[in-house]
């Protein structure tokens, strides 16, 4: 492989990482909002949050990407920049999975903690922010770590729409070189290294958060 072809691959890595960060942020926001909303007092709020998670968990990420890229512009006249279209599709889909993680972790906090908050006259928002979340978040990290790897693998899907991520640039290089085994081997290796680093980072984060709760 020549230096020029490596440059294409590196650009792809850049796009993949950028997409990963944006969609992870959107997914995290969606998981906390929808996950906490499922414990809300109002039935309507619970229903809307439940509908969101069921619909987005039920459908395929790739179908969602196609929908955002090809149906939104025609049906609603919203032509999004590819990066934002990819972020929206991935963030909403994986956010629905994350909402289940948040809901489960909140439900696993000892009920006495919630009752203690009520007895001390905390508002629901204070209870969530000061009592429930600090205890629930460290428990969520291992599941979120797995979800982050799934999201990384999911980012490869946007290459089908022609967005220049790592998988797409790999395909370009393959067309230039015609050496499939080598190129796809490199691609898989790069994805694996990113996944490895992410897992390590999340493990460190978990240790830090657990230490803070213990303090």
């Amino acid at each position: 492989m020549t230096a020029g072809l490596w440059k294409i691959i590196l650009q792809g890595v850049g796009v993949t990482l950028q997409l990963l960060v944006y969609s992870a942020l959107l997914a995290a926001a969606m998981s906390f909002v929808a996950g906490a909303a499922r414990t809300h007092r109002s039935r309507l709020v619970r229903f809307v949050a439940g509908l969101y998670t069921e619909v987005f968990r039920g459908t395929s990420a790739l179908v969602m990407i196609f929908w955002v890229f090809f149906v939104l512009p025609v049906a609603f006249g919203w032509q999004l920049v590819p990066m934002w279209a990819g972020t929206l599709a991935l963030g909403l889909t994986y956010g629905a999975y994350g909402a289940e993680i948040v809901r489960g972790a909140l439900a696993a906090v000892d009920p006495a903690q919630r009752e203690g908050g009520i007895a001390l006259g905390f508002t629901p928002w204070q209870r969530l922010r000061l009592i429930l979340l600090p205890q629930a978040v460290p428990e969520m990290i291992p599941s979120f770590s797995n979800l982050l790897i799934e999201l990384l693998k999911g980012t490869a899907l946007v290459s089908i729409t022609g967005m220049g991520d790592l998988a797409f640039s790999g395909n370009l290089v393959r067309l230039a070189l015609q050496q499939s085994a080598q190129i796809y081997g490199y691609l898989l290796l790069i994805y694996f290294v990113i996944a490895f680093l992410l897992t390590r980072g999340m493990r460190g984060l978990e240790r830090r958060l657990k230490a803070e709760v213990a303090r």
Binding site: G58, T59, S60, V74, A75, K153, I160, Y191, T199
Partner: protein, 216 residues
């Protein structure tokens, strides 16, 4: 927003064909992942680390890299090695291999969840290895294994659209073909989006019934 029921009607026959291919890929992919996952689990229990280590690294690698790129790898590299398979066969192999690295964890957890006392009792009764597995360990492990395996089948259903990229005409492939011919993207893509929600919902209902049967 425009919605054309005529386009939906035009798409339905193709949708049916696509659905059949999707379910076919799902069924075969699940069978491969169930069988291959068991092979990985047994290899990981091998006495020598010269077997455990390579199997561990390989399965970790497959689990942490995108299925899409793995499909490209199989689809373009196997012919170079002289193995020519149809797109559907390649896709089913890819799905099965990818998900076998998940099912192996399910099997391992299921076996490990059998209390140590059960193993010790089997030893105390001097049951032969075969009977220890078939009469003591497996009946207890299966109960713990079925629900997560079912969840992975549903996850695999949602990954079948990727087979489109190597030329399998499953639901998304059909939808794309039809929408490109008629320049109507909204209806076919929305129909299959709803179809995925419906099929995975039905599958989860089926799974819940199965779980209840097993617990009894």
């Amino acid at each position: 927003m425009t919605w054309d029921w005529g386009a939906v009607a035009d798409f339905l026959p193709y949708f049916g064909k696509g659905l059949v291919v999707t379910l076919e890929a799902l069924a075969l992919g699940s069978l491969i992942s169930f069988a291959l996952g068991l092979v990985w689990t047994l290899l990981m229990r091998a006495p020598t680390r010269w077997v455990r280590w390579p199997v561990g690294v390989f399965t970790e690698f497959v689990r942490d890299t995108p299925l899409l790129v793995q499909l490209f790898f199989l689809f373009y590299v196997l012919p170079e090695a002289g193995v020519t398979l149809s797109p559907l066969t390649t896709g089913v192999l890819g799905l099965g291999l990818h998900y076998s690295t998940y099912t192996m964890q399910v099997y391992r957890a299921g076996i490990e969840a059998v209390p140590a006392g059960q193993w010790e009792a089997a030893t105390a009764l001097s049951l032969p290895v075969r009977r220890t597995w078939t009469a003591v360990v497996l009946p207890q492990a299966v109960r713990r294994v079925v629900p997560p395996l079912g969840n992975y089948v549903i996850a695999m259903l949602k990954d079948t659209p990727m087979l489109m990229t190597i030329g399998v005409l499953e639901m998304l492939g059909r939808a794309r073909l039809v929408s490109q011919q008629h320049f109507q993207f909204t209806e076919p893509l929305t129909v299959i989006g709803i179809a995925f929600v419906v099929v995975s919902y039905l599958a989860s209902l089926l799974l819940r019934t199965l779980e209840r049967r097993l617990v009894r």
